[in-house]
């Protein structure tokens, strides 16, 4: 289980590094601040419902969620000096949240029409 979680951490770290900055720049700053006109509903809907984009968005959500969960777990335990089996409840909450987000993302991307 531990190597698998580290694999998700690594994959998620790579996806986050390659793709999140441009997404934050566009949707967090460029569109809200009017640097660029936000895409119309029709064009964004067409893009999001394309099968390749659905897969892309799933990867963009699923892997960074597990990356964040894994890193948050280790950092919180380092900061608060939680060791050994006392880490287990924090791990359950972190990975559980990532799993829940992944399930919601999968459901949303499969059912979006």
């Amino acid at each position: 289980m531990t190597p698998f979680l580290w694999f998700l951490f690594g994959g998620g770290g790579m996806v986050s590094a390659l793709l999140l900055p441009v997404h934050v720049l566009l949707f967090g700053l460029a569109f809200p601040l009017g640097w660029f006109e936000a895409p119309s509903y029709e064009s964004l809907h067409g893009l999001v419902t394309h099968p390749v984009t659905r897969l892309y968005l799933f990867v963009l959500i699923f892997l960074p969620l597990f990356h964040a969960a894994h890193r948050f777990l280790y950092t919180v335990c380092d900061l608060l000096q939680v060791h050994g089996s006392r880490r287990t409840p924090i791990a359950v909450v972190c990975y559980g949240a990532a799993l829940l987000g992944t399930a919601v993302a999968a459901y949303t991307l499969l059912t979006i029409a």
Binding site: T2, G10, G12, G13, M14, S16, A17, L18, L19, L20, P21, V22, H23, V24, L25, L26, F27, G28, L29, F31, P32, L33, F36, E37, A38, P39, S40, Y41, S43, L44, H45, L47, V48, L57, L60, I61, P64, L65, H67, A68, A69, H70, R71, F72, Y74, T75, D78, L79, Q81, H83, G84, S85, G101, V104, A105, T108, L109, T111, I112, A113
Partner: protein
């Protein structure tokens, strides 16, 4: 015989030197380490925001417009500024660390660390331009 992969879950009674609560404020390297690790909070939160955007698009034009209007609020702008700084810091530190975790050999020669990192920075630029082009094409 017990499964060796389960061995680390045994709680060993190791001595751990008690650390002051603010140990990571003691020097610059500790602080940068914790700052790098805490970028994950913004990675997680922005990922959830992206999921909300997809859900809004799925619900129709009005929910999409409402979601985009919500992002114009000053709290969201402040969040986005922090999130942008965090994901940039994550990206730069991540690509600089890749040569430590990935060793590439070409024709018996080890590819220099700087070249591996540079290839990742180049891939980052290309990926960003492709995403921006596709989203902005409209």
């Amino acid at each position: 015989m017990s499964n060796p992969s389960q061995a680390p879950t045994v709680d060993l009674k190791l001595y751990r030197r008690p650390m002051p609560f603010g140990w990571w404020l003691e020097n610059g390297a500790y602080f940068r380490f914790i700052a790098r690790e805490l970028t994950c909070i913004f990675v997680g939160l922005f990922t959830v925001l992206t999921l909300e955007l997809v859900q809004a698009v799925g619900r129709g034009p009005a929910p999409y417009a409402a979601f985009m209007a919500r992002l114009e609020g000053s709290a969201y702008i402040a969040f986005s500024l922090l999130a942008f700084a965090a994901v940039l810091y994550h990206a730069v530190t991540w690509f600089n660390l890749v040569p430590t975790t990935v060793v590439v050999r070409l024709g018996g020669e080890r590819v220099p660390d700087g070249l591996i990192a540079a290839a990742h920075f180049a891939a980052w630029a290309v990926a960003s331009l492709v995403v921006a082009f596709i989203v902005l094409r409209g």
